[in-house]
Symmetry: C2
Subunit: 354 residues, 2 copies
């Protein structure tokens, strides 16, 4: 059994590195903090993520530097230490290839990808519970030793995450599908709004808000992420281009019907596969709409009444169209508790719509 | 002054037609309900949206039939009555062109587009308050009489909506931008998930859920909507194809950087232009994250505590990654109330992150 004893050296004390440091420090594991920017490491130390000066050799090194530098830092840490080395980059083929170009000594390296984050960045955004219940992908390559894989699994579990083991290639195709492609599609859709007159944007509803939300992410960081996964992403983008051409051809015809319906139908089939809460497909939940006056305390009253019905609200969404003086809250609950919920809310004076 | 006296004939008693009927009936306006399917009209009548038998000639006809039939029904109603005629279709050029092919008598017609809806459909989903505070676009054409425009404005205001006047062409380009293109992008992104192994979907986060949500909409209805707006949409889709090609070329290069960052940067500029609540750009709000245990009553407790701080929650979002035993709620409030909110929540034991 490979135990996580520490010390753990964290190279790169941004949001992810600092959060790992905070989680491990909380468990009593000694954490060494290293960052190319001394100020950044100092900040991470000050909020309790570990120490900049640790005399004992690390058992494990976690490389949490920006995507472009990951491979080089992995190779460097393999050379400098006898420790197991992992990284936290969101793409796995490129760091492995970059490291392999610099060293053959890769048995002690196994990639990993803690799938939690935030629109915030930097050490001060770090949180000990960032990975609590999150998914942490572990991506062994053919030379990874079983000990290395086991130790990285211990690290993820220590941070409170649920581990998923995938090959490097599978991981990168998966994140291309569920993260990088959606990001690019969001950015392309949002990009068409740059030159739109304000009167056009006044007609915006919840749909365009949802589709374009992630497009607001940092362009430099996303350039690195997307570039690092160009292999997996190119295939998907070519698939999108093919479908886009089908849409354009269909729209040019007198009768666009069948072809467009088939493309939109594929969209429905894909959308319902995206897991919702607890990995359950979101079609398992029933949603109701409740109209709420837009003033303080109304949400509190609504949720108190919902709780009184015994229903657990699994998901919720506020629809707030521009200029709308009343809000609309969509509550999703398990099918078994919907009748009771609607009954109690109606009884207590809420305008409820199924 | 053109007053809305009624009777108002509603042709097509689905969600929109029935909701208009309910809103007008509530105000004491006589509403006549007509539908190609007698059962549908009967259902609308039973829930109080109006009557199937009205002896008096209508003052106003509202055509709320499926997109493909709107133009023909407008022309028919102009021929059958002396009333002002409007429609509720989400695209305005095609109904006008279709009607113009059948009649020259278009002074009494002015298009309109009540911008509210629901994932639900049919008369039983109808609600008197569906348009309360929503945007209702009015799209006069060159032959529309001022009286017709004024009466349709009265209709929208009677339903509680805020009116926006746009030319037919401007309206269609606007909805192509803020509704139809986002829908197609969402469908194309979701379509790539159809053949993905389940292990890939396990890595899904909130981003892909947001981007693909609207792709779950009815493919037949959306085929009609999108086909009816093929003119405006084709230009935007060609723009997207151009950008997609730029992304593909950039990804194929050794150094994708500059080009990708510029495309992603355009996405950021577009995303921040999408109005949030009350037409305010969403960057005017400050968000905080609160960790909540996943059991009944926690949201009630959270919102009670938030209300106690005096802050009005302007927007909220639950992040519920698969398998995560704790939830995370993102609350958006005005900058002026964030300190007070964080103070009160922290004091009451919540784990709050800015």
């Amino acid at each position: 059994m490979t135990e996580l004893r520490g010390p753990v050296r964290i190279v790169g004390t941004g949001l992810i590195g600092t959060s790992i440091g905070l989680a491990l420090t909380r468990l009593g594991v000694v954490v060494e903090l290293v960052d190319a920017d001394p100020e950044t490491a100092l900040m991470a130390e000050r909020i309790g993520a570990g120490s900049r000066l640790v005399q004992v050799e690390p058992q494990l090194v976690v490389v949490a530097v920006p995507p472009d530098h990951v491979g080089a830092v992995i190779a460097e840490q393999l050379r400098l230490t006898d420790a197991i080395v992992t990284d936290a980059a969101s793409v796995k083929s490129k760091p492995l290839a970059d490291a392999a170009a610099l060293t053959d000594d890769l048995a002690r390296y196994v990639g990993s990808h803690p799938m939690a984050g935030s629109e915030r960045s930097g050490p001060l955004a770090g949180r000990a519970d960032l990975f609590e219940g999150a998914t942490w992908a572990i991506t062994p390559h053919e030379k990874s030793s079983p000990d290395a894989v086991e130790l990285v699994r211990r690290l993820a579990e220590a941070a409170g995450a649920r581990t998923v083991e995938l090959s490097v290639e599978d991981h990168d195709l998966a994140v291309a599908r569920v993260s990088h492609l959606p990001h690019l599609m969001s950015a392309l859709a949002a990009g068409t709004l740059v030159d739109a007159p304000s009167s056009h944007l006044e007609l915006s509803g919840q749909g365009v808000r949802d589709v374009t939300r992630i497009a607001a992410g940092d362009p430099r960081l996303w350039t690195q992420i997307v570039s690092a996964n160009s292999g997996a992403l190119t295939g998907l983008l070519e698939q999108i281009r093919g479908e886009l051409d089908r849409v354009l051809v269909a729209l040019g015809k007198e009768e666009a019907g069948e072809e467009l319906t088939s493309i939109l139908g594929q969209g429905v089939s894909g959308a319902v596969r995206v897991p919702g809460k607890h990995g359950a497909p979101h079609i398992d939940l029933v949603t109701i709409l409740v109209t709420i006056p837009d003033r303080p305390g109304q949400l509190a009253r609504l949720f108190a009444d919902a709780a009184a019905s015994g229903a657990n609200v699994e998901d919720l969404r506020i629809d707030h169209s521009p200029g709308r003086p009343v809000g609309e809250v969509e509550l999703a609950v398990k099918p078994g508790s919907v009748d009771q919920l609607v009954g109690v809310l109606t009884e207590r004076g809420w305008a409820v719509h199924r």
